[in-house]
């Protein structure tokens, strides 16, 4: 019995060892060998990564990821991630590349390799009932505000403006909680809120506050994957140059963001 357990442990160690050795090889070779690029994207973030009626993941970021797979000449597989696990998925090699609406932060750069230049940018705002009549961020003081678990602006909203954050796992739960009155507002990315206010079911709601924390988004690869990072850097410059991002924004019904326009001008 004891010997059997030992053997199992030994086998597990060997398997783990194999896993580690492939991870340390150049990821581009691994992807080509596998014939498939595995990308971590959002599946609950209209219009950047969401599910269509058939359950397939679509959106601006999945399309960008598809461009990468096409460039490498491989198939693509999307892995849905959420804010609280996306960096861990990448770190552990569950995904090769992460394009998941992640804000570029210095401390995140220590954990994953965020590729320059940034591909997108957005700020923080809230979605709330029109009749509550919020005017500025201080109006949220002491009120319950829905959020997403792991989002960086939860801290700012609660510490600077005194809101009580009620954070959920996904956006669907947060929207449901907002609708049933569990919170006064929902703090989220302005880009997603704009899309929501155009929805008929949300006509009583508005995005009343000035956008804060306008911050660039970064896509990321594992630390140490420099060849892949260089390739991604070229891809991003190319997206800006060709206006690919502006084109995708239009395709998914988002007004062209100043950041995307500025980057297009810069790299044209």
């Amino acid at each position: 019995m004891k010997l059997k357990t030992l053997k199992t442990i030994a086998a597990a160690c060997v398997i783990a060892g194999i896993g580690m050795s492939t991870a340390s090889a150049d990821i581009l070779d691994t992807i080509k060998e596998r014939g498939k690029l595995i990308v971590g994207v959002k599946a609950d973030y209209v219009p950047y990564g969401f599910l269509d009626t058939s359950g397939a993941i679509i959106g601006i970021e999945p399309e960008l990821a598809k461009d990468v797979a096409d460039k490498l000449g491989v198939e693509i597989e999307y892995v849905p991630v959420v804010s609280s696990n996306r960096m861990q998925f990448l770190e552990q090699g569950k995904v090769d590349l992460m394009i998941a609406t992640m804000t570029d932060k210095p401390d995140r750069r220590k954990v994953v390799n965020i590729v320059d230049p940034n591909y997108y940018s957005s700020g923080t705002n809230v979605l709330s009932l029109k009749k509550l009549g919020f005017k500025n961020w201080d109006d949220l003081d002491g009120k319950p505000v829905c959020g997403i678990q792991g989002a960086f602006y939860n801290k700012a909203t609660s510490q600077q403006y005194g809101a009580k954050i009620v954070a959920f796992k996904g956006t669907a739960e947060a929207y449901a909680a907002l609708k049933s009155g569990n919170c006064a507002a929902f703090v989220y990315d302005d880009s997603a809120i704009v899309a929501k206010t155009q929805d008929d079911a949300w006509s009583d709601y508005e995005m009343p506050l000035p956008t804060i924390d306008d911050a660039p988004w970064g896509l990321a690869v594992q630390l140490g994957e420099d060849a892949f990072a260089t390739l991604m850097s070229e891809m991003i410059v190319d997206w800006h140059k060709t206006g690919r991002i502006l084109e995708l924004e239009t395709k998914y019904g988002v007004a062209n963001t100043p950041f995307a326009e500025a980057m297009h001008e810069k790299h044209k």
């Binding site: 678990q149 989002a151 939860n154 739960e173």
Partner: protein, 217 residues
């Protein structure tokens, strides 16, 4: 952080208390002579034992919660009658309570029929027999199983973070997202729950020992 720790303790304590109450009352009703009371209790047990606790939490919070009347709140909106903590307490109490009913039943069935018959002969009413004779004896038999279930209940309170109850896991999640110190937080979380459940287990074991009757069970 420390707030999250207290919320976890509070939620655990509330759920422990109510689930044991539900267990005791449920087991008593199960022995009822009315067919429909027994059927009702059995239906409750089946419903809560055969569905995952996370699904129950979501069901209570998002389905039942929105059907209840709303009240005017202090920020000029309408909010539901019960918040996430209340729903978590209700849902988890019912969940663990369903198991407790069965645990107490096993204890009750272990009480020799001759004992209850003797009490009956002495003129005890049905309720008196249950409270003074059956339950104290049944408790001793059921304690190890009850112990198990209550330990499980404390661990199940982590699910409440799905409906945004700011418990230990929820607070830790926000901290590791803000400060990217995942490894440290994971170690801390594991130890914190180990410590918390350890206290409960130590208490329950003590209780078990103190209730021991030499030569019985």
């Amino acid at each position: 952080m420390i707030g999250g720790f207290f919320i976890t303790i509070k939620l655990s304590a509330v759920c422990l208390f109510f689930s044991v109450i539900i267990g005791v009352i449920g087991a008593w009703l199960q022995g009822s002579t009315f067919k429909w009371t027994r059927r009702f209790v059995n239906g409750y047990i089946q419903l809560f034992r055969n569905t995952p606790p996370l699904v129950q939490l979501y069901f209570f919070y998002f389905a039942i919660g929105t059907l209840l009347p709303t009240i005017e709140n202090d920020w000029g909106g309408e909010s539901p009658l019960l918040g996430s903590f209340a729903w978590a307490a209700i849902s988890l109490s019912f969940f663990a309570g369903a198991f407790n009913v069965e645990i107490f039943r096993s204890g009750i069935e272990a009480v020799p029929k001759s004992t209850t018959e003797a009490a009956e002969a002495l003129g005890y009413t049905k309720l008196q027999i249950y409270v003074s004779i059956t339950l104290p004896l049944a408790f001793r038999v059921a304690l190890p199983a009850l112990n198990n279930n209550l330990v499980n209940l404390v661990k199940t309170t982590t699910l409440a973070y799905a409906i945004a109850v700011p418990d230990l896991l929820y607070e830790s999640n926000q901290i590791w997202s803000d400060n990217v110190n995942v490894t440290e937080m994971m170690i801390f979380l594991l130890l914190a729950y180990f410590f918390l459940v350890g206290i409960l287990v130590a208490g329950m074991n003590r209780w078990e020992r103190s209730m021991k009757i030499p030569g019985y069970g």
